[in-house]
Amino acid sequence: MSSSSAEGPHEAQAGAPERFSFQLPGRLEYRDAARAFLAHVCDHLSRAGRLPADAGHRVISAFVEAFNNAVIHAYEGRDQGPVQVELEVAPQHLTVRVIDEGQPFVPEDVPEPNLAALPEGGLGLFIIRNFMDQVRYERVHGRNVLTMVKAFDAPDGAAEA
C-alpha cells in the first residue's frame, strides 16, 4: 500500500487517470492505514496546486465517515466483511470509492441533521454530502458502493452550500 515518490502518479496532470485499490478488514482500527494513503495523495495534489489543503481535509473527512458507516452500520449485527477502497486521480477530479458487503441502506431515508440543536449523532452522511462535489450510492451485486468525487477546480464554497 505504499505510494510513489515525489514525482508520483498524482503529479501526472494530463493523461489517463491513476487508480489505486486496496482491501482492508472491515474494522475501525484499519481505517487509518487507508486514511494515511489518501492523505498522502491529497498532500501531493496540494503541493502541485491542484487541491487546496482545506479541500484535502474535507476529502479525508468524507472518507473517514464513509469507512465508519461501512464498519459500524453496514456490518452491524453481522460478520465484519471487507472494505474495499478505490482512489482515482484524474486530471480534473479525485474520486474516492468505499465498497462493503454489508446490509444496504437508503441515503434518502437519512434525515438532515438540525445543526441548531447541536446533534450528537447522525452527522456522517451530512459531512460526506457537504464536503464532496458529487456523491453517489449504488447497490451492486450485493455490495454497497459509495462514490465520492472532488473536483479540482470546484469553488471552495461546497461546504457552505
Binding site: 465517515e65 447522525g122 459531512i127
Partner: protein, 113 residues
Amino acid sequence: MLDYDRQERGDVTIFSLKGNLDALTAPSLKKEIESLLASRKINVVFDLAGLELIDSSGVGAIVSLFKRVRTLQGDVKIARLQGQPAEIFKLLRLDKAFDIFDTIDRAVERFRS
C-alpha cells in the same frame, strides 16, 4: 490513537488532545469526561493544537460534554482549533456554538471574566 493530557488551572480543566478523536477513541474520552463530571469539574478547555482528525463520533463526545456542563452552569471552550477539525467545526457550525480562542491562556481567562 488518541493521547490526552489533563491539567487543572484553578477551577478550569484543560484537555490537550493529540491524535484522532473518532469512533475508535471517543469512548475513552467519554470515560474521562464521566470522571470529570463526577468530580464536579464543569469548566473545560479543549486544546486542539495536536488534534489531527475528528469525526462525527468525536464531535458527539465534545457536544455531549458541552450540553451536560451547560446544564450545570459550566462551559466548554476551544483553543487552537486548526486543520481538519477546523473544517468540521465550520461545517457543523460548532464555531458558532463554542467560544474559540487562539491560545489556551485566553480560553482560561474567559472563565474568569
